[in-house]
């Protein structure tokens, strides 16, 4: 038996009586499917993820390029002519070398080249894989550890709560970006070793771990508060009265009720984590070359803003769209799981 608080959903007048009998997850799914904006954003997100997952396919079979290898002396086809990827200025004093701009030909430097003569489109897709991987993994770490800490602190209270809450306070005391930057700056140079755990300096696990850890208080706090509230609810006290063990209370009564909060927060954390990863990589302390992420491609493009703005704009747009999709989808999931806290009005409301 699940102790989850089932929303008091009543069948609308004249509506399908089956709704009243549906479980909370089914109801949430139905509500989500009615939210067209959230669905459009889910579709957009799916397209972005699919494109990024198809990066090797694009690079090797369509663009025929290695996006991790410098190609400063290479050539490509633009407007039917073979041209150098890096164009040397021949006017005036002959200063400067400019990478080729977007050709809008998917086979040849669709979005142009970066300062190393690499295909920006291929790097954008590979970069998206890393950005999504880091964001997703970090959000999973955050949500998992936050639920663990929040539930244990809220449920056991007393000394356990005191210690865990103070630990969260310590992390919370630092501005999140400052903390992430400090940790990255220190660890990116030397890597991290603790017992059997060994993270090399160029490993993606470093930004994943750092970003995953710094956001724990932001999720653990509300979950702890919710557990404190649940602990005093009648169904929990009834279970205690019936002699349920702590483990049973946690597993059957507390966890199912807080897991929805974690689910709601997950897409939002994913969006925040992706932004943080972009910021760290932009500062050269996230994903390390020759690997790419959307943040590191923006950094590459910063040096070409005057002549080749597409290099910085493309990943910027990709981040903006992904974060927008995640935020709207996150709101939709929240509306679906907790219809009493509507964030966006849908057509059906």
């Amino acid at each position: 038996m699940s102790g989850a608080i089932v929303d008091e959903v009543l069948a609308p007048a004249g509506g399908d009586l089956a709704i009243a009998a549906a479980g909370p997850w089914q109801l949430a799914r139905r509500r989500l499917l009615r939210n067209r904006v959230a669905l459009v954003m889910a579709g957009l997100l799916a397209v972005i993820v699919a494109l990024c997952l198809g990066a090797p396919l694009y690079a090797h079979h369509i663009a025929h390029t290695d996006p991790f290898r410098s190609n400063l002396d290479g050539t490509t086809i633009a407007n039917g002519k073979r041209v150098p990827v890096m164009v040397q200025s021949t006017q005036g004093l002959g200063l400067g070398v400019t990478p080729i701009g977007p050709t809008w030909d998917v086979h040849h430097y669709f979005l142009g080249a970066d300062g190393q003569g690499r295909d920006v489109a291929a790097r954008l897709l590979y970069g998206g894989r890393n950005s999504l991987l880091i964001g997703t993994s970090a959000a999973l770490i955050t949500c998992f550890l936050a639920v663990l800490v929040g539930v244990v602190a809220g449920f056991f209270g007393g000394l356990v709560d005191g210690i865990l809450s103070r630990l969260l306070d310590v992390v919370w005391a630092f501005p999140v970006y400052l903390l992430a930057i400090s940790l990255s700056t220190v660890l990116i140079a030397r890597g991290f070793s603790l017992g059997p755990l060994h993270l090399t300096s160029g490993s993606l696990l470093l930004p994943i771990t750092i970003i995953g850890l710094v956001y724990i208080p932001y999720v653990a706090r509300p979950i702890r508060g919710e557990v404190l509230s649940l602990r005093r609810r009648e169904f929990v006290e009834a279970a205690i009265g019936l002699g349920a063990s702590n483990w049973r209370l946690l597993w059957s009564d507390i966890l199912p009720n807080v897991v929805t909060t974690a689910i709601v927060l997950f897409p939002l954390m994913l969006a925040i984590d992706m932004l943080t990863e972009a910021a760290l990589s932009f500062l050269s302390i996230g994903v390390q070359e020759p690997k790419a992420s959307w943040g590191s491609i923006i950094l590459d493009g910063q040096d070409l803003l005057y002549t080749r703005p597409a290099v910085a704009l493309a990943p910027g747009i990709a981040i903006a769209l992904t974060v927008l999709a995640l935020n709207v989808l996150g709101d939709g999931i929240r509306d679906a799981l907790d219809p009493r806290a509507k964030l966006r009005k849908t057509k059906d409301d």
Partner: protein, 551 residues
């Protein structure tokens, strides 16, 4: 008859000379005044001339401080000539071990106090007290220096330096033909005896130059004003300047610096213009853009004490694989740099063109030999070794680091590139505790002698494990080659051309041992505003800022 004609000719020449001098004087006087506005992304650190080791401030020290000797304030290679400055003359005795200087009279610091022999003696002691970065490298040959290096606070240089009246004597433990150069760099500036015995930081110390530092806020601006006590005592050593005031403002990005100079809001930016603005400078602002070849080189030191570069074959493979032309593209194109394989730059004492790491080995580099590089990596047994390429995080150095990582991956290593803050990019790779395998560096001459490259960068004496001051970043200490370096240094005292021939051989040997991958010889780009006139570029200390006028 013949005499008469000669007299008339002489008179004519004299008249023309007087007229020319008068008009020249009027022209130069009319250009005096105004404020020369310089920009830099960040301040250059301490303002103490005996501590600071940056081109950013060494350039400014030329107009603010003097040594006993000075590099001539002139354009081109004439700037390598050393001329008497605060000393009116000097001679060497005791087989080159004693240097006797006669001080000029009537020279005052910018605080009004006259320069005395006591100030000179105190200044040399201060080099050790403030732990000047070159105290151990340049001035360790002064008698008593070894004790001063051990206990700087109580440094007296007993037996090493003495002053009496207008005479100062410096005694060396051994003759040093390069000592005149070492006396002409800012670390040997003569400061008031009252200067603090520690790094003065942002507090300006009075100097003797045509200008003095009136204020310094490392977050905002550095201001130089005319020294009210200055008079020209040597046009070659310390000429008068044109602007009344010179400022260097901090905080603008490189992009913003270029825009400000284009718009006439500033006169010059210290930082190298970004790649995406070079074409614009070379076309729209060609008249305001000055390109000058440098006696410098960009190189990648490879740590010979850490795998995979413990293997000579692995190091040589990197040298063969690097496409110098590709790297030059990152730097801005062939007009801004020339490919190189060796240590000594073109036109430098001891340079004999040599490039073994090219498709057709000979005097110059022509193309990379990637196939040979791959063979060498296979033969080295280091294939698949993990390598991290360290570089500073500015645009060009970072791009060079990324390119090197790409090349290393291509020939069989597993490389990543890591960009670190420019503030530590010079010292971090020096410390062996940081286990840096390969990094991106540049070396610009301190003075025109082959030892300034070969002995300083690859001599055993420059390798100090565990220290941030271990300029031999490759950790290269080849005893036979080092013995030759010391022999060449000795030979400089008696036969400079022969010593240079010896340095040329050493250059070849070091290049063959490949403790570094030389990439290219850069040119310097100065972009000045429309109103800047009389641009004079000294090969020693670059643009002589005070010799340009703004009105």
């Amino acid at each position: 008859m013949r005499n008469r004609k000669s007299l008339i000719a002489l008179a004519l020449v004299a008249v023309i000379g007087v007229v020319a001098t008068g008009s020249s004087s009027a022209r130069t006087t009319s250009h005096r005044g105004g404020t020369l506005k310089l920009l830099a992304n960040a301040a250059g650190g301490t303002l103490d001339p005996q501590v600071n080791y940056t081109l950013q401030y060494w350039q400014l020290y030329q107009a603010t401080y003097d040594g006993l000797l000075a590099f001539q304030k002139a354009g081109g290679s004439a700037a390598f000539n050393v001329v008497p400055d605060l000393a009116s003359s000097y001679k060497t005795t005791n087989g080159g071990k004693s240097w006797v200087f006669t001080l000029r009279k009537g020279i005052k610091f910018s605080n009004g106090r006259p320069v005395t022999a006591n100030d000179v003696v105190a200044s040399f002691r201060r080099i050790f007290k403030v732990k000047s970065p070159t105290a151990g490298g340049f001035y360790n040959g002064i008698v008593g220096a070894s004790k001063c290096l051990k206990t700087p606070a109580t440094c007296t240089l007993a037996g090493g330096i003495s002053g009496k009246g207008n005479t100062v004597t410096i005694n060396l433990t051994a003759p040093d033909a390069e000592f005149k150069y070492k006396l002409a760099v800012p670390h040997a500036s003569i400061l008031p005896a009252s200067a603090p015995p520690n790094d003065a930081g942002s507090t300006p110390i009075p100097g003797t130059g045509a200008y003095y530092f009136s204020s310094y806020d490392s977050n905002k601006q550095l201001v130089m004003k005319r020294n009210p006590y200055f008079h020209v005592w040597s046009q070659l050593a310390q000429p008068d300047g044109y602007p009344d005031q010179i400022t260097q403002s901090f905080g603008l990005t490189v992009e913003a610096q270029v825009t400000a100079v284009e718009n006439g809001q500033a006169d010059w930016g210290y930082d190298f213009p970004p790649a995406d603005r070079l074409n614009e400078l070379g076309t729209k602002y060609a008249a305001q853009t000055h390109l000058t070849p440098l006696t410098a080189f960009w190189y990648a030191p490879m740590n010979v004490n850490i795998p995979p570069f413990t293997s000579l074959k692995a190091r040589q493979a990197v040298n063969y694989a690097i496409d110098r032309n590709a790297l030059i593209k990152i730097f801005g194109g062939p007009k801004l740099a020339t490919p190189s394989c060796q240590v000594l730059p073109p036109g430098f004492p001891g340079n004999k063109p040599y490039c073994p790491y090219t498709k057709n080995p000979g005097a110059t580099w022509s193309a990379p030999d990637v196939a040979k590089a791959k063979q060498l990596v296979n033969a080295s047994g280091q294939k698949g070794a993990k390598v991290v390429v360290i570089s500073a995080n500015d645009e060009v150095q970072k791009a060079v680091g990324v390119y090197l990582a790409s090349v290393l991956n291509e020939i069989g290593f597993k490389a990543t590139a890591k960009a670190i803050s420019g503030n530590i990019a010079f010292t971090y790779p020096q410390n062996t505790k940081n286990h840096v395998q390969i990094n991106v560096q540049q070396w610009y001459q301190d003075y025109p002698a082959a030892s300034d490259f070969l002995h300083i960068l690859f001599g055993c004496e420059s390798f100090h494990p565990g220290s941030d001051s271990s300029i031999n970043m490759a950790g290269f200490c080849n005893k036979p080659i080092n013995a030759q370096m010391n022999a060449a240094l000795k030979l400089e005292n008696t036969n400079f051309p022969k010593a240079n021939a010896m340095w040329a051989k050493i250059d070849r040997q070091v290049t063959d041992q490949a403790p570094m991958a030389t990439m290219f010889t850069p040119k310097h780009l100065d972009f000045v505003s429309k109103r800047v006139g009389n641009f004079v570029f000294s090969k020693q200390f670059y643009w002589l800022v005070d010799q340009s006028w703004v009105q």
